[in-house]
């Protein structure tokens, strides 16, 4: 079973797939998938992300593999759904996507042993965890200005039940920019696998239903520009589409990024 959350006709709905290009809302209506607004596919709790968790990507960024996972957290405003738009600030010179397998927690996990860890997984989705490298600094790196930006972490389209996916997932993943493949990898190459991450994290932070672990990205990150379409795919989980938008669309002027209007929204 795979489920989405969408906005349609004035309300938020759970939805399931209903054949080519269509989805079925919880209330029975079948609508075109292009006629809905796709939201992150579940109620998201804490967003936990991994850096340097594919050996090839770590090498690409000239880092040695870690002894301990490189984990960072994001705020909820970072999240957007499938077919959303992510802002590229005018002063950025290197903004890149990161296609990642996202693991959704289904039941509380506190000090869980590795052997029991996968039983705490509700399902999986796809994440596109954008980064703007211009803003990277060496203090609590990666800092939130790089990794917890409004609308710069896309999730979706579907939450695929763990029961329908082998444990651990053995899936190819890739990114296409304007239809051209720029990144590819395979989840078998995770440095720290999902069971390890659940054991590691749950030793000091209780994982709760809705918490999500973004497991890191393989090599192949390239710059994206305003107008680009970025598609992250994971075999059997779907394709997550995102568009890069410019400052003007967000009412951002040239005055040091501060909006000229004084509205509170």
């Amino acid at each position: 079973m795979k489920r989405a959350r969408v906005a349609y006709s004035g309300a938020i709905h759970e939805a399931t797939a209903a054949g080519a290009g269509s989805i079925r809302l919880g209330d029975g209506r079948v609508v075109a998938e292009s006629d809905v607004v796709w939201l992150p596919p579940f109620e998201v709790g804490t967003v936990i992300a991994l850096g340097l968790n594919y050996a090839d990507h770590a090498k690409e960024l000239a880092f040695k593999p870690q002894d301990e996972p490189l984990v960072f957290l994001k705020g909820p405003g970072a999240l957007i759904g499938h077919r959303g738009a992510t802002r590229r600030p005018a002063d950025a010179t290197f903004m890149h996507y990161e296609c990642e397998l996202a693991v959704v927690i289904g039941k509380p996990a506190r000090r869980v042993a590795r052997a029991d860890a996968m039983a705490h997984v509700a399902g999986y989705t796809i994440a596109n965890d954008y980064a703007i490298r211009d803003y990277l600094e060496n203090w609590y790196r990666p800092n939130l200005r790089v990794k917890s930006r409004d609308g710069a972490t896309a999730l979706g389209p579907w939450l695929v039940d763990a029961a329908d996916v082998e444990a651990p997932p053995q899936r190819a993943l890739r990114t296409l920019v304007n239809g051209r493949q720029t990144q590819s990898g395979h989840t078998r190459d995770l440095v720290f696998d999902i069971a390890f991450l659940i054991e590691y994290l749950s030793a000091f932070m209780t994982l709760l239903p809705g918490d999500v672990i973004l497991t890191g990205t393989p090599e192949g990150v390239v710059n994206v520009d305003v107008g680009d379409e970025v598609v992250c795919e994971i075999e059997g989980l779907g394709r997550l589409v995102n568009r890069i938008a410019g400052d003007a669309e967000f009412g951002r002027g040239t005055a040091a990024g501060t909006r000229k209007d004084k509205g509170s929204a």
Binding site: T46, L73, G75, G77, V112, R141, N143, R145, D150, K262
Partner: protein, 222 residues
């Protein structure tokens, strides 16, 4: 209570006390840092790290000690997206006392959530003082007491970024929502305690928070 809910996200400004970088000396210019931070440095305090008023802080019995930090919590009252410094305080509903704790950290290069996002490590005060009654947020004295003895004293006047500047810089890339709480920073080298310690944090004009440090419960089975 003022018309907002404490159901948002808690963020903490890091390295926002002048002594934080001073304490590092020449190391600031050397690897891995290679210079003082330019942008605002933040941590997310996730939901399972938060301790409601009256609750206890947790530490592992057999592990490292807990470091205790006092912080002024700014409660957001109006959505703040890309606000100017001059308008920033208009988005504040009020202030509360926060006791934010970590394990000892290995420097400041990595986020170290094992030290900084632990279960029951960030205690929130019971009372939110409305902005109109709290006075200047950048002239607040903070005190940490351990077992009734004054252990640390500092002031928000010693911050690198003022409260308004922090809100402006954060909201440039991350919208702050009503109910979110922004901790404006703490002086470095908080006192280290173990299970059994009684903690109090006071902020002039904002209030006093009392909590205890208790040993965390043992392993749960799946």
């Amino acid at each position: 209570m003022a018309p907002f809910r404490l159901s948002g996200t808690v963020y903490a400004a890091l390295l926002n006390h002048r002594r934080s970088l001073d304490a590092l000396g020449d190391a600031v210019a050397a690897a891995p840092y290679k210079g003082a931070p330019k942008g605002v440095v933040l941590a997310v305090k996730p939901r399972q790290s938060l301790v409601a008023p009256g609750g206890d802080l947790q530490v592992d019995d057999d592990g490292e000690p807990l470091e205790i930090y006092a912080a002024l919590g700014v409660v957001i009252g109006r959505t703040a997206c890309a606000v100017a410094e001059a308008d920033a305080l208009d988005h504040v509903a009020g202030f509360l006392v926060v006791c934010d704790c970590t394990l000892p950290r290995a420097g400041h290069f990595r986020p170290q959530i094992r030290a900084m996002a632990r279960d029951a490590s960030c205690a929130l005060g019971a009372a939110v003082v409305p902005r109109s009654q709290a006075g200047d947020p950048d002239a607040r004295a903070l005190r940490v007491f351990v077992d009734g003895v004054l252990a640390r004293a500092s002031s928000t006047s010693e911050q690198v970024r003022s409260t308004a500047r922090l809100i402006a810089d954060v909201s440039d890339f991350m919208t702050l929502m009503p109910g979110d709480i922004l901790l404006t920073g703490s002086a470095p080298d908080g006192p280290r305690v173990r299970a059994g310690a009684a903690i109090a944090v006071e902020i002039d004009g904002v209030g006093r928070l009392e909590t205890r440090v208790v040993a965390a419960a043992p392993r749960m089975r799946a």
